[in-house]
């Protein structure tokens, strides 16, 4: 039993180091670093390259990795990305860090090769020596992990409590504006914090490699477990995060001794422990306070006072004008873009050959899922990270009903969507009073639970091959099926547009722009948000069902939450409130990798994912997305041509009294 506890302490130590890094960056910059796992992977892979592949001894390799490359990576990411995020909306913060988490492993694969490494040496000499303590054996790797967490806790306490540097960091956590008014450069402190926390990511990655292996997915999943401790500590309480992380590690290994070995259920339960811990704490917080809003706890009053008007809503502000304008008539010029895009895409099945037509069909099915993001994030302003889980539920239900219950596959897809919808409604009801970041975390928790508890069931998983989901006879070929999916897309797009242009849509636009403002107008948040929750879940699950029919098999792992997060990053990059963006993103998601695989060397196969990640990172600078940005440019161009004919006054040149402007937030 003691052996399990030693292993638990080692695992808890890795969680604790990761949780420390995540909490410190959050309280100092307001950014919850979803890329922590990728940073850990990148740096652990660099250490493996130096130590194992290049023959460096451990000490110089760890010094170069943790004290050289990690701070350099942290500084570079801060200068390129994170410094733009302090005033960005929660959605942009989440998506940009997800962009890093997508791009960084691809850079590592390009630099170091894509060899699968199931176990890598840590900091101890090989073979790893073991020591007998109280009758049980503890490996040197486990002792080093515990030593590292003690070192991190002691060093960070001394630095934060007793040094001028620590005082400056704590001052900036309180209020960045007043820190700069005290003659201190906040950028220097921020860059220092990112350098230190990236070093912690590197250390956590190296310590995790012996037990966890070196894969981007494995490292991201391990670090996602550390998020549970961060959430349980309400994102800001460092000692609590470390304590809970340690406890979670010990609990995981303690429970493991009572579970049957080599059972899929054991694996599912162990993976679920951090997620259940996160879910339990969230339920307690919601139960006690009724609402949880992270926005109120970041920065001081002065920081909020100098924040530019509408900066939180930068991704939606321009679109809200469109909502108001487009309600006045049945047809508006802004609808021309999606119509032209869909018309051009409708020609593609006639022009493409077998392989490309198959990719296009899958892309159109993914576009259906993307429409659910358009609905829930673009219209509802709710950052849901579990749309892939809904798509997965739709997919496995479609396959079960079509193959095992011999239901018509199309009817099965709609039935799957109907089965998933109540789950979305319950999540919508539970999260309605939460701040954006907590909504994201609750939905992430649900998605991860679905991954580990539902999608791993043998009934759905079938040793990785999934359950067949054959198409109906009249849609067997890719050509008719692609047109059928396109028709479904058009119908769903019309529903999205109709909701946007309805009174509900207008109310949602008001809630998105300012929830307190909308309440003062007497607008109820509950009804519109529940409607969006239900409709978007239905669309996601239906999209999942058609994705399974497109592939003619429902493999649950294709709908993992991490895949869904990449989907979201791709869509937000192109435009989260645009119908055209949804279909373009769907097609780009399947066709772009096809182009790379077909026409470029195999070594460049990771480039499309890298591009998707870089696109998401660019959102920090251009938050409205590519389609919206270029669409606005085109509208501006047409507007200029129009204005030459009929000159009009520019309302922006009229001074506006500040309180009046403030009421429009």
């Amino acid at each position: 039993m003691l052996g399990y506890i030693f292993a638990g302490i080692a695992l808890g130590s890795i969680y604790a180091i990761a949780a420390s890094g995540i909490v410190i960056t959050y309280i100092s910059s307001g950014v919850l670093n979803f890329a922590f796992g990728s940073m850990a992977y990148f740096l652990a892979r660099l250490f493996y390259f130096l130590n194992t592949e290049s023959g460096w001894s451990t000490v110089p390799a760890v010094i170069v990795t943790v004290l050289g490359a990690a701070p350099a990576l942290g500084a570079a990411l801060y200068l390129a990305l994170f410094r733009h995020l302090r005033l960005a909306s929660p959605l942009i913060r989440i998506v940009s860090t997800i962009g890093v988490s997508v791009a960084l492993p691809q850079v590592a694969l390009l630099l170091f090769g894509n060899e699968t490494i199931n176990s890598a040496p840590g900091l101890s000499p090989q073979p790893v020596p073991g020591y007998h303590i109280l009758g049980a054996t503890a490996s040197l790797d486990q002792i080093i992990a515990f030593g590292c967490v003690v070192l991190v806790v002691v060093a960070s306490t001394i630095v934060l409590r007793l040094t001028d540097v620590g005082l400056r960091v704590r001052a900036m956590v309180d209020t960045e504006a007043l820190t700069s008014l005290s003659g201190i450069n906040p950028a220097v402190i921020s860059i220092g914090v990112w350098m230190v926390t990236t070093a912690l990511a590197g250390l956590a990655g190296i310590l995790a490699a012996p037990s966890n292996g070196l894969t981007p997915e494995g490292m991201t999943a391990l670090m996602a477990a550390a998020f549970a401790a961060v959430v349980a500590a309400r994102l800001r309480n460092l000692p609590a995060a470390v304590g809970i992380a340690m406890g979670m590690g010990i609990l995981t290994d303690f429970i493991q001794q009572y579970l049957p070995p080599n059972s899929s259920l054991t694996g599912a339960i162990l993976v679920s422990i951090p997620i259940l811990v996160m879910g339990a704490f969230l339920v307690v917080y919601i139960g006690f306070s009724g609402q949880t809003n992270e926005a109120a706890s970041t920065g001081g009053a002065l920081d909020r006072a100098i924040r530019p008007l509408g900066s939180d809503e930068s991704s939606t502000a321009s679109a809200d004008k469109t909502v108001v304008n487009s309600r006045s008539s049945g047809w508006s010029p802004s609808m021309l873009g999606p119509v032209v895009v869909i018309a051009l895409i409708a020609l593609m099945p006639l022009l493409l050959q077998a392989y490309w037509l198959t990719l296009l069909t899958s892309g159109l099915a993914i576009a259906l899922v993307f429409l659910s993001y358009t609905m829930v994030i673009g219209e509802g302003g709710m950052i849901w990270l579990c749309q892939a889980a809904f798509a997965g539920i739709g997919a496995v239900t479609t396959a079960q009903l079509a193959t095992n219950a011999e239901l018509n596959p199309i009817v099965a897809a709609f039935a799957g969507a109907l089965i998933a919808t109540p789950i979305g409604l319950i999540i919508g009801l539970l999260t309605i009073r939460l701040g954006n970041l907590f909504v994201a975390l609750v939905t992430l928790t649900f998605g991860l639970l679905a991954d580990s508890l539902i999608f791993t069931r043998d009934q759905f998983f079938q040793q990785g091959i999934g359950v067949p989901a054959y198409r109906p006879d009249f849609l067997t070929g890719d050509l008719p099926f692609s047109y059928f999916v396109l028709a479904i897309f058009v119908v769903l797009a019309l529903i999205v547009v109709n909701v946007r242009r309805s009174t509900t849509g207008l109310a949602l636009a008001a809630v998105r722009y300012s929830e307190p403002g909308a309440r003062t107008l007497g607008l109820s948040v509950l009804g519109p948000k529940l409607l969006i929750s239900g409709v978007s879940t239905f669309i996601a699950a239906l999209g999942g069902g058609f994705l399974a029919l497109a592939a003619e098999v429902a493999v649950p792992t294709a709908y993992s939450t991490f895949t869904g997060i990449v989907w979201m990053a791709v869509l937000v990059t192109i435009g989260v409130r645009s119908i055209a963006a949804a279909i373009l993103a769907g097609i780009a998601y399947t066709l772009l990798p096809g182009v790379f695989h077909t026409y470029l060397p195999l070594s460049l196969g990771t480039v499309p994912t890298l591009l998707f990640g870089l696109g998401a990172i660019l959102l920090a600078v251009h938050p409205e997305g590519a389609v919206a940005r270029n669409g606005r440019r085109l509208q501006g161009l047409f507007g200029k041509i129009g204005n030459r004919r009929t000159p009009a006054a520019d309302p922006a040149t009229t001074p506006t009294e500040l309180p009046e402007a403030s009421t429009t937030r």
């Binding site: 005082l167 001052a171 008014l181 201190i184 450069n185 001081g300 006072a305 008007l309 001074p655």
Partner: protein, 243 residues
Amino acid sequence: MMSGEPLLSIRDLCVRYGPALALDGISLDVAEGDAVAVLGPNGAGKSTLARAASRLVPATNGTIHFDGEDITRLPAHQVRRKGLIYLPEGRGIFPGLTVTENLRIASSMLPRNRRKAAIEQGLEIFPSLAARRGMKAGMLSGGEQQMLSLSRGLVLSPRLIIADEMSLGLAPKLVDLVFESLRRFKTAGVTIVLIEQFIHRALGFADEAIILSRGRSSWQGPTKNAEDEILTHYLGEETAPAR
């Protein structure tokens, strides 16, 4: 408004918060050792003028010179180092730090051997702060927080203080204390830009005044001529006495 080289010179300053134009072409000169009151109704742009002068918010147009140097594009922390201090409205303190730590942060630009004396000096000015030196600043009363804010400003021997609504929400006795402290600064030769809700006290304190209305300067001049203008610009033409 004045003769000689001004310590603070603002020309055609414009500031936007997103779509809202908060300041529109403000010009203001403040001579060294003078006290200038910035007056105007709510939403006139008084705090925005202070934030722009201290470089907390960027100017979209115009220039700001401090002691002859163009500071229009300098970051806030560098402006602070030149001796321009902005004491923001709503308690310019770090609520999560103790009283002593607040003063440590304020004195962090001094050489190490002078910091301790500066912190002690800051605590001596307001004895009630000295008694609470280990307490978190966020736990202090409103008056004590304002004292700490003033004390933070004092530790570095500033050249110009922009005091933004320092008396806001304070009991009359504490308002007296705030003005007494500001007068002490003024006597010591520190230039003061005062943004204040108590108009008559501000006019009694300052040498010059500027009245802002909807982001524009509607009147500037010596405080002795300001009384009539204030009625006009706060409450409208009808309320002004016949001239």
